[in-house]
C-alpha cells in the first residue's frame, strides 16, 4: 500500500502543481470575478449621470422625497436651483425637480429629455400622498370618516409559482450536470491517457516494475488522477458556495436572488444529491478507460491520440441525452441508465425528473461500482504487458499482443 501511495502522491502533486491545473481550476472564478467587476463598474458609471437632483422651498419636503426615492437615485449634493442648473449643464445629473409646497403641492422637472417613467411614477405617488395628508389635515375629518375614505379596492394574483420553478430547476440542473460531467471527462480523459501513454514502452517503467507490482502502480496512478479531480470539484463546491453567499448580499445581484432564489436553491439541491455520486463514479470509470486506451497506444510519441476512445464514448453518451431531456420516461433512457459509461448521464436525468425509484438508483450505482472494480482488476492484471511492449500495428493487434505478453 505504501508504494501505491508513493505513485498516487507523485501523480497528484505533479498535476496540481502544474500551471495548467491552476488555470483550469481558477478560470471559472476569474470569469465570474471579471463579469461582476464589469457589471459593478458599468453600474457605477451610469449611476451618477442617471441621478436627478431635488430642490425645494422647504428642506423637510426635500428630505421627505429623498427618503422615498432613495439616496442611490438622487444626487443629494445638489441643493439649490442654481447648482442644479449648473450640474445639468455639466451633465452631472440627468435632470432636477423643483418641489413647491403651498395649498397645492407642485413639482416641475427640468431635464434634457423626459423624466424617467419610474421616477415620474414615484414623484406622482409622493405628491398625491403629501396632498392627501394636507387635504385630510385641512378638512379636519373624524377618524371614522378618515377610515372610510381610506378604503381601497382589493386585487390578488395567485400563480402556481412552485410548479413553474420546479420545472425550470430541472432543466437548469440537467444542463449544469451533463456539462459538468462532459467537461470534467474531456479534460481528465486526455490528462490520464497522456500521462499513461507517455510512459508506454519507456525503460523507466522497467525500473518501476522491478520495484512494485503493475496492479499497485496502475491503481496508484488512477487514484492520483481521481484525487486531482476531487480537488477540482472541492474547489468548485467551496468556491460556488462562497460565490452564491456573496452574490446574495451584493447589491447588484440581490434583486436576481430575490426573484430566482428559490430556483437557485432547487438547482443546488438537485446537484448536491445522488447525482454528484453518479458524476464522480462516471468520472472514475471513464478515467480507467482513458488509462487503458493510454496503455494501448503504439508508442509514447502517440500520447496525444491516446484519449480518443474515452473521449468519443463520452461524447456519444453526452449527445445521446439531448433528445431525452424532457422525456425521462423513455425506454432508451431507462435501459441506458443502467449501462456503465452511459448511466452517469442518464440516471441523473431520471433522478432530476423524479422518474425513478430509490431501488433503481441503487441498482444502477451497484452495477457501476461492480463495473469499476471489475475493469480495474482486469486492466491491472494485463497492465504490465501493455506498458512494457512498444509495438507498431493497429489498435486490436496491440491489444492482442498486450494480452499475450506473458
Amino acid at each position: 500500500m505504501k508504494k501505491m501511495w508513493v505513485v498516487t502522491l507523485t501523480t497528484y502533486l505533479r498535476q496540481v502543481k502544474s500551471w495548467s491545473f491552476v488555470i483550469l481550476v481558477l478560470s471559472p472564478f476569474l470569469m465570474l470575478a471579471v463579469s461582476f467587476g464589469v457589471g459593478f463598474i458599468s453600474a457605477n458609471s451610469t449611476a451618477s449621470t442617471d441621478d436627478i437632483a431635488v430642490v425645494a422651498n422647504q428642506p423637510a419636503l426635500r428630505q421627505a422625497y429623498i427618503k422615498v426615492a432613495g439616496k442611490d437615485n438622487v444626487n443629494t449634493k445638489v441643493k439649490t436651483a442654481s447648482a442644479a442648473k449648473q450640474a445639468l449643464k455639466n451633465e452631472k445629473i440627468s435632470g432636477y425637480v423643483v418641489l413647491d409646497q403651498g395649498v397645492k403641492y407642485s413639482a416641475v422637472y427640468h431635464g434634457t429629455s423626459s423624466m424617467d417613467t419610474s421616477d415620474k411614477a414615484q414623484l406622482t405617488t409622493f405628491l398625491s400622498k403629501m396632498q392627501t395628508q394636507s387635504n385630510v389635515a385641512r378638512a379636519k375629518l373624524s377618524r371614522t370618516q378618515l377610515n372610510q375614505l381610506s378604503q381601497q379596492p382589493v386585487f390578488k394574483e395567485k400563480v402556481q409559482k412552485q410548479t413553474g420553478i420546479a420545472k425550470q430547476a430541472k432543466t437548469v440542473s440537467f444542463w449544469i450536470l451533463v456539462f459538468m460531467v462532459y467537461m470534467i471527462l474531456m479534460t481528465y480523459s486526455s490528462i490520464t491517457a497522456q500521462e499513461i501513454a507517455s510512459e508506454k514502452g519507456t525503460k523507466v517503467m522497467e525500473m518501476v516494475f522491478s520495484s512494485t507490482t503493475a496492479a499497485k502502480y496502475f491503481c496508484g496512478k488512477i487514484l492520483g488522477v481521481l484525487m486531482v479531480i476531487a480537488t477540482q470539484l472541492l474547489v468548485y463546491l467551496i468556491g460556488g458556495w462562497a460565490s452564491v453567499l456573496v452574490a446574495r448580499n451584493l447589491s447588484m445581484t440581490k434583486s436576481f436572488f430575490a426573484s430566482y432564489g428559490t430556483l437557485v436553491d432547487k438547482v443546488i439541491g438537485n446537484l448536491l444529491s445522488v447525482n454528484l455520486l453518479f458524476l464522480f463514479l462516471g468520472v472514475i470509470i471513464y478515467t480507467i478507460l482513458a488509462a487503458f486506451s493510454g496503455a494501448l497506444v503504439a508508442k509514447a510519441e502517440d500520447a496525444s491520440k491516446a484519449a480518443y476512445p474515452a473521449v468519443y464514448l463520452s461524447m456519444i453518451a453526452f449527445f445521446a441525452t439531448f433528445p431525452f431531456q424532457n422525456n425521462a420516461d423513455a425506454l432508451t433512457v431507462k435501459i441506458l441508465s443502467y449501462v456503465p459509461f452511459f448511466s452517469s448521464y442518464f440516471m441523473p436525468l431520471r433522478v432530476i425528473n423524479e422518474a425513478v425509484s430509490p431501488l433503481a438508483v441503487s441498482m444502477s450505482l451497484l452495477i457501476l461500482v461492480i463495473s469499476i472494480l471489475g475493469l480495474t482488476w482486469y486492466i491491472s492484471s494485463i497492465y504490465k504487458g501493455l506498458i512494457l511492449q512498444a509495438d507498431e500495428g493497429n489498435f486490436f493487434q496491440r491489444f492482442r499482443r498486450g494480452l499475450s505478453y506473458k
Partner: protein, 297 residues
C-alpha cells in the same frame, strides 16, 4: 544467491531461452555475454518477472516477487527517466518505490552525485541534463538503495572511458559490500576486467559457463605474442605455426596448432638470449566470443 534453474521461454515459434541454468553468489560478479538476440535481456526480464517463463528463479531461496523487489537494483538496457522531474525528485521517487524513506535518501543524493561526477544540480530537470549525465542519474537510481542483487543490462554502452572507469569502480564497490551482480556487455574488456564468472549465450542456450581464466585456459595456449626482427616468412616456416599476424613493425601474433610447441619456438627465436617479448596465451575472450557465439564457428 540468485539461482536460475532450467529457465526456458518461448515467444511464438521462437525459443528465446532453452534450459538455462546458473547461479550468482553474493560478492560475485557474473558477466553475461552473447550476440544480440542471444537471450540476455529475456533472461533479465525473466529474473524480474516481467514475463512468464518455465523453470525456477529464486533469490535467497525465495521466488522473485514484490517481497524481494526492495533487494534488487536494475538498470535497463536503454536509458530513460521521467524528463519533467528534477534529479532529486526522480531519485527520491524510485528510491521510495524501493521502500526507502525520503529522509534516508535525501542526504545521500549529493554524495552520490559527486561520486559519479554528475554535471548538474539536483534541482535541474532531467531533460536539462546531457545524455551522459542522465545515464549517471539512472545508475544512481539503480544503486542508491544499496541493493543486494544488482542487474545491469548493457551498463557500459555509450559511456566514454572516464565514465567507464567510474562505473567499474561503482560495481567493484558494490561487490565489496557483498552484492550479487549480473551484467550483460558486448565489451569483452569490461567483462574480463570485472567478472569472476562468465556465461556466454547463443540463441537462448548457455554455450560457456565458468571462471574467466578457466574458460580461456580450456581453449589451450595456442597464441604467441612475439617481438622479433625475424622476417614474416621465416616465422611462418617455424614448426606448428599455422598463421602469422603482423600487429605492428616487428611485432607478431603466431597461432599454433599445438600449444606444447611454444617452448621449442622460444628456443629457436631467442637462442637463450634476451628477447623483448615472448608471451604464450590462450585466446582472448573476444576471440572465444567470436568462436562460440558468432558466425565464425
Amino acid at each position: 544467491m540468485l539461482k536460475i534453474e532450467h529457465l526456458s521461454k518461448q515467444f511464438g515459434d521462437l525459443k528465446a531461452l532453452n534450459d538455462v541454468t546458473y547461479n550468482v553468489k553474493e560478492g560475485e560478479i557474473m558477466g553475461l555475454i552473447g550476440q544480440n538476440g542471444a537471450g540476455k535481456s529475456t533472461t533479465f526480464h525473466s529474473i524480474l518477472s516481467f514475463i512468464h517463463y518455465d523453470g525456477e528463479i529464486s533469490w535467497q531461496d525465495q521466488p522473485i516477487n514484490e517481497k524481494v523487489f526492495n533487494d534488487i537494483g536494475y538498470l535497463p538496457e536503454e536509458r530513460s527517466l521521467m524528463p519533467k522531474m528534477t534529479v532529486e525528485q526522480q531519485i527520491l521517487y524510485l528510491a521510495r518505490l524501493k521502500g526507502q524513506s525520503a529522509k534516508q535518501i535525501k542526504p545521500e543524493i549529493d554524495r552520490w552525485m559527486n561520486r559519479f561526477e554528475v554535471k548538474g544540480r539536483k534541482t535541474d530537470k532531467i531533460k536539462a541534463l546531457s545524455k551522459g549525465n542522465q545515464q549517471k542519474v539512472q545508475l544512481i537510481c539503480t544503486l542508491i538503495h544499496q541493493p543486494k542483487l544488482i542487474i545491469l543490462d548493457e551498463p557500459f554502452s555509450g559511456l566514454d572511458p572516464v565514465n567507464v572507469d567510474i562505473l567499474e569502480q561503482a560495481i567493484l564497490n558494490a561487490k565489496h559490500d557483498g552484492a550479487a551482480i549480473i551484467f550483460s556487455s558486448h565489451d569483452m574488456g569490461n567483462v574480463e576486467a570485472l567478472c569472476d564468472e562468465l556465461v556466454m549465450m547463443r540463441r537462448g542456450e548457455v554455450v560457456l559457463h565458468g571462471g574467466i581464466r578457466d574458460i580461456r585456459d580450456e581453449f589451450g595456449k595456442d597464441e604467441v605474442f612475439v617481438t622479433t626482427d625475424w622476417a614474416r616468412t621465416d616465422l611462418a616456416a617455424l614448426p606448428h605455426v599455422i598463421e602469422v599476424v603482423e600487429r605492428s613493425r616487428n611485432r607478431y601474433l603466431l597461432r599454433l596448432d599445438e600449444p606444447t610447441a611454444g617452448k621449442d619456438i622460444f628456443q629457436r627465436l631467442s637462442h637463450g638470449e634476451y628477447i623483448e617479448e615472448f608471451s604464450q596465451q590462450p585466446p582472448t575472450l573476444e576471440e572465444i566470443f567470436r568462436l562460440k557465439a558468432g558466425d565464425l564457428k
